[in-house]
């Protein structure tokens, strides 16, 4: 636990709908070390975005705690919370709506500095220009409104805004999902370069496994609010042990005709269950090709299996699987 920059313990996030209470995040533990990129992967409804936001206290935690550099953020308030907030920043998904349409690029990137009362006008401007340089945008963008920028450029502004306070950790909520694939690569490479130059840690929420494969150091796979498998990225992709991870990898498209043609029937059957009434025991059992009666009776805990952790009662019985 020492050396963990971010330490999330038993995090639970719920929200009320007209039809009942949905448990978006169900008792999740995770850690991110300094300079490390942890990817949170899953499909819609798995709770990865809610978890990312809860870490930044943008959504309330029902139970559990978030420790940043050893300090529980929930115990802080007022000025000390604002201080702590500076070290944890977020990059959002939608380049269209994540930038204030009535401000210019310069004002958007300056905003965090102003909010925290940092520096003089001149010092702030210098910092803004330096940060825009970091993300590959020149000072000529200072006076432009977001509407005048392309999706990729807007996303760079979003990253600049997150970096201007010199944070230690970035929570990235699907930052490239709304971009064309050739632009995605630019932004992802930028994030990698920034991590190397600034020693940033990242909690990277994504649904695209290809991106995760080449970006993350460690991966955690989520399904209906729970982490079902987690570990170093090379191991997880070489030998996934949870049936859901296997299904995800079997389904992820590969731009290779021979590989795609050789693929067999998809591994996750049927539909996502109603999040208001998830299946008892293991949430994935209704779609799992390996399910047995025991899976309905007990919720599997994460157990060590070689280099990874798996939450599957039958993980030892399931044959080894290689995605391609």
């Amino acid at each position: 636990m020492s050396g963990a920059l971010l330490d999330v313990r038993s995090a639970t996030v719920t929200y009320k709908t007209r039809a009942g209470t949905v448990t978006a995040v169900d008792g999740v533990d995770l850690t991110v070390r300094r300079g490390e990129i942890l990817a949170l992967v899953g499909e819609s409804g798995c709770g990865k975005s809610s978890l990312g936001r809860a870490v930044l206290r943008l959504e309330p935690l029902r139970h559990g705690s978030v420790l940043f550099d050893g300090v529980d953020l929930a115990t802080l308030s007022g000025a000390r919370l604002r201080q702590a907030r500076r070290r944890l920043q977020m990059v959002f998904q939608d380049p269209q709506s994540s930038l204030d349409p009535r401000r210019t690029v310069g004002q958007i990137v300056e905003r965090p500095l102003k909010v925290h009362g940092i520096g003089t006008v001149a010092q702030r401007r210098d910092k803004v220009v330096a940060t825009l340089d970091l993300v590959g945008l020149g000072s000529r963008y200072l006076d432009r409104p977001p509407a005048a920028l392309s999706g990729g450029q807007r996303q760079r502004v979003g990253i600049a805004r997150a970096l201007v306070l010199d944070p230690d950790l970035l929570v990235c909520d699907e930052p490239v999902s709304a971009l064309d694939v050739s632009i995605q690569a630019q932004i992802l490479q930028l994030l990698l370069d920034l991590r190397d130059r600034l020693g940033l840690a990242m909690l990277f929420v994504a649904h695209d496994l290809g991106v995760v494969r080449h970006l993350a150091d460690r991966v955690a796979v989520m399904y209906l609010g729970r982490i079902v498998e987690g570990g170093p990225v090379d191991d997880m992709f070489a030998r996934p042990r949870h049936p859901y991870t296997q299904a995800l990898l079997a389904a992820a498209p590969v731009p290779d005709v021979a590989v795609e043609r050789a693929r067999s029937v998809p591994l996750a059957l049927g539909d996502l269950p109603d999040p208001l009434a998830p299946p008892s025991g293991c949430h994935f059992r209704t779609r799992c090709p390996h399910q047995r009666p025991v899976c309905a009776q007990a919720s599997p805990e994460l157990v060590q299996a070689g280099p990874v952790e798996v939450a599957c009662l039958r993980h030892e019985d399931i044959p080894a699987f290689s995605p391609v």
Binding site: L56, L58, M90, S98, L99, D100, R103, R111, V115, H116
Partner: protein, 274 residues
């Protein structure tokens, strides 16, 4: 907002809007130079009562022998500011109330909205008359009365805008950078609500001016002998054959209100489509 962007937002972009802003500008100009180009509006010459328009009196004279032309010009100095003051007061009260209601929610929302509902339920003009009468007939009581009836409109409008905006990602981003709720509301959310609210406010200038003139028409706003368009029409009712006593002030009022409506459309641009 950069200054050039703001300027482009208020510049007219159609012929109708240019006509509107020209008429408004003309009336403002005339109101300012009124004393320089016309005679004393209060000077009575009983020998020249109810004269039709002529070389000496461009718009004729009224039943007390006062020059209608100068009274119309000086009347602008009363009528125009009333409308502006009313809208200013109503937005000053309504916008913050609505913003807080929509952002903070909870009991603040309940209180503001129920108050607004109450005021909506009562007939506006009747209520304004009652307030003005209770405060005693004067310009300020007319302004307060009408503003009291108008602020719920802005409260509701602002609240609606704030409710939508607070879900947008850039507002979330603002919170994530560590801005306090107050900073988020006043510095990020409200400026984005401004386009819609300003459109309504500008168009309401016409309605407010008319309401002020109505109260004066009924004797509750501007008091005689100060010239005011609504009051002038009111006293002209008694002398219908002297058409110039009602036509010119009436036309002045109508032209101003129409001009407001024509120009006001300038705010109704792509902003509203966002």
């Amino acid at each position: 907002m950069s200054r050039s962007a703001t300027a482009s937002r208020i510049r007219p972009h159609s012929a109708a809007q240019w006509v509107g802003v020209s008429i408004i500008a003309a009336w403002i100009l005339l109101a300012v130079v009124a004393p320089l180009i016309s005679s004393d509006p209060l000077a009575q010459t009983t020998s020249d009562r109810l004269q039709a328009p002529s070389g000496a009196h461009l718009f004729g004279t009224d039943q007390l022998g006062r020059d209608v032309f100068s009274r119309v010009l000086h009347g602008a100095r009363a009528t125009l500011p009333i409308g502006v003051c009313i809208v200013l007061l109503a937005t000053l009260v309504g916008v913050p109330a609505g913003a807080l209601a929509g952002f903070v929610r909870g009991w603040v929302d309940e209180v503001v909205m129920r108050l607004a509902d109450l005021l909506f339920a009562l007939p506006a003009l009747v209520l304004a008359l009652a307030i003005a009468a209770a405060l005693g007939p004067s310009v300020s009581s007319a302004v307060i009365a009408i503003a009291a009836v108008m602020w719920p409109r802005y409260a509701r409008l602002t609240r609606g805008q704030v409710l939508t905006l607070r879900q947008r990602e850039f507002v979330l981003a603002d919170r994530a950078t560590g801005a306090s709720p107050a900073q988020v509301l006043w510095q990020t959310v409200l400026p984005n609500a401004a386009p819609v609210v300003s459109l309504v406010a500008v168009l309401d200038l016409g309605t407010a001016t008319l309401a002020g003139a109505t109260l004066s028409f009924l004797g509750l706003g501007v008091q005689p002998p100060t010239p005011e368009w609504g009051a002038m029409v009111s006293s002209a009712v008694q002398t219908p054959e002297a058409w110039w006593t009602s036509l010119f002030p009436g036309f002045a009022l109508v032209s101003f209100v129409i001009a407001i409506n024509l120009y006001g459309q300038v705010f109704d641009r792509k902003e509203l489509g966002r």
